[in-house]
Amino acid sequence: MAEIDASIAARKPQEVNRQARTAWGLATPALALMFLILLVPVVVAGVLSFTNYSLGNSGFDWVGFKNFDRLFSRSTYEKMFIATFTYVVVVVPISVALGLGAALLVNSLGRIGDVYKTIYFLPVMATLLAMAIVWEFMLHPTIGVINQTFEMSCGTILEVIPFLANGCADGFPLWLGDRDYAIWVLCFIGIWQGFGFNMVLYLAGLTAVHRELYHAAEMDGAKSAWERFRLVTWPALGPTTVFVVTISCIRAFQVFDTVEAFWPQGGGPNKSTYVMMFAIFEKGVQQNLIGIGSAITMLFLVFVMFLTLIQRWLVERKVHYG
C-alpha cells in the first residue's frame, strides 16, 4: 500500500506537469506580449498617477494621492460617472438584445438573410470619423433630416404625440447641443454602431448549435419559436452570451470615439457626455496632465474590473459549455 501511495505521489506532479507544460508553452507568446504591450504601460500609468508629470517636462514630483483626491471632489467628475453609467446601462442591454434578435431573425431567413446581415454590419465597418460627420448633419437642428422629418408631421394627426406637439410648437431638440438629449443621442449611436457586431458574434455562436437538437425539441412538442429558443438556442448560446455581454460592457465603458468626434472640446453640453474614457483622453492627452489622466485610468480599471467580476460571477454560473 505504501509503495503504491509512493508511486502515486511520485507520478502525479509529473503528469500534471506534462499538460501544464504544453499549456504554458501555448500561452507563453500571448502572455509575453500581454505583459510587454499591455501590462508594462499600465504599471507605468500606475506609477505616473502618483506624480504631476506633464509631457515635455524634464522631471516630475510625487504628489501622493492628490490626483485621486481631486477625482472625488469636483462636480465634473460626478458628471463623468453619471454619463458613463447612463451610457453603459442603456447601451449594453439594448445592443445585446438587438444583436441577438437580429441574429435570430437573419439566421431563420437563410440565404435572403445575408442581405440584412451585411446591412446591419455596415455601421461596424464604417469609419467612425466620417459617420460622425454624417450624423452631425442628420442631427442638425434645422437642416438635418431628422428634425425635418419630424417637422413633416406638424399639422398632421401625428401631432397628438407629445414629443411632436412640443417640437412643432417650440422647435425640435438641438440633439447634440442639447444637454437633455446629448447623452441619449450618444447612446443611440452607440447602439446603432455596436449591435451589428453583437449580431455577427451571435451568428457565429448559432453555428455551434447542433441542428438535431432543434429536431428533438420539435418532437418534444416545442411548438413556438420561443420555446425552441428557450430549450435549445439560448442555452447553446451561453458561451457566446458571456462573451458578448462582457465585451459590450467593456466597450461601453470605453466609449470614446463618438464623444471625441461630436464634442472634441469638453464632453458635450454641460458635460452631459463626459464619459470616463474621454476624461482620460482630455486630461492625459489634450491637456497633457499625465498624472491626473493616469489616476483616472487607474480608477477606471479598478472600477470596471470590479463590475466585470460581479457580472462574470453572475453569468458564468449559469452557463453550460459544450
Binding site: H210, E212, L213, H215, A216, A217, E218, M219, D220, G221, A222, K223, S224, W226, E227, L231, V232, P235, A236, G238, H320, G322
Partner: protein, 384 residues
Amino acid sequence: MAGLSISSVTKRFGETEVLKGVTLDVADAEFVSLVGPSGCGKSTLLRIIAGLEDPTSGDIAIDGKAVTGTRAADRNLSMVFQSYALYPHLTVAENIAVPLRMRSLSAVQRLPLIGPFLPGAKEQRSEIATAVQSATEMLEIGPLLDRKPGQLSGGQRQRVALGRALVRDPAAFLLDEPLSNLDAKLRVQTRAEIAQLHRRLKATFIYVTHDQVEAMTMSDRIAVMMGGEILQCDAPSVIYEDPSNIRVAEFIGSPKINILPVELANTEMTLFGRVLGYITEAAQAGIYQLGLRPEALKLTQAAPVVTGTVAHMENLGSEVYAQIALANQTSRVTLRAAPAERRNLRLGAEVGLGFSLKDGLIFDADGKRQRRVEVAVTHEREVA
C-alpha cells in the same frame, strides 16, 4: 393511437436519391420493425414521417389525415434519435421531463420563477416527476437523474434518449436503433419493457434496428428496406421462412443463408451434377438458386448430398457455426450445430452434409422467389 400511411415517398439529397418510392401502411397499434443495411434510408424515412425532413415527393398520413405541411411538433409523435440528441445543458431528469413539460404545462406554468406557484401547476409538476421517475427506473438510470449528458456513458445516454421518448403517450413511436449501445442483458430487459408498453398503450411503433433478434421477437411485421425501397413487409416468421426475394433471405438470418446453384432441366433439379429431385409442374429450364438456412443443413455420414472439410469454426457457447468448404467447389456453406456436435467438427475434418429439400428456398437467377417450383422429392436424406 393512430395508423400511419406512407405513400410513394421519395427523397433526394442533391444528386443522390435516398428513398426511391417507399409505400408502407402501418395499422393502428401495430409494431413494425424497419431493418436494412446501413445507409439504406431508414433514418431518413423516420425523419420524414416525423416531419423533420420534407419528402421530395409522396405523402404521409397519420390516422388517415394527410400531414403534409404539418409541423413535427403538431404531429404528436415521439422519437428516439440515432444520435440521441440530448439537451446538453439539462440533467437527465430534465431531459426526460421536457416532452411532458412542453405538452402538459402551459407556457405560463413553465416560467422559471412564478411558474411553480400557479394554480394546478403543482399537481402537474408532481405528475411529471412521477412519470420521469418510473421511466428512469424502468431504464435503470435512476441514480443518474442529476447528471448532465456529458457525464454519462454511451449506453446511459441512449437510455436517457429512450426515456425521453417513452415517457409520453403519443400517436406513434419512432425509435431509431434505441438499444444499439446496450448490453445484452439490459437489451433483453428493455425489449421486454418496450413490448409491454406497446401492449399497454396500444400505440403504433416504428422501430429501426440492426438486431435481428429484436426485429424478430418484437414486431408484428418486419419491413426490409434496401437501397431506398421496401423489399418486403411481412410477419417475422414469413420474412424468415418465406422471403420473396433472395436479398431479403440473405439479409435476414445470421449466419447468412447458404445459396447454392441448382439447375433445372426438363423436370430434373440438379446440384453440382447430382439430381436432387423432380419438379412436379413444368418450370422454365435454367440456373436457379437454392437457399438453405444454416440450421437446415445437417451433419450426416450416410449418403450425404455434399461433402466438404471444416474450414472455420465459431463457438458461441450455446451453438457452433461451422464453415464447410465444399469438396471440388470454391464455395463454402455455413452450418449451425449444437455444441455437442463440436467433436465432429474439428478444423479440417471431412464431413458430409444433408438437407431436406422442403427446407430449401428456390430463387431464380434475378433473385426472385420461385414459389411455383414444387419439387417431388426423390430421396430424403435427413439424419436423426
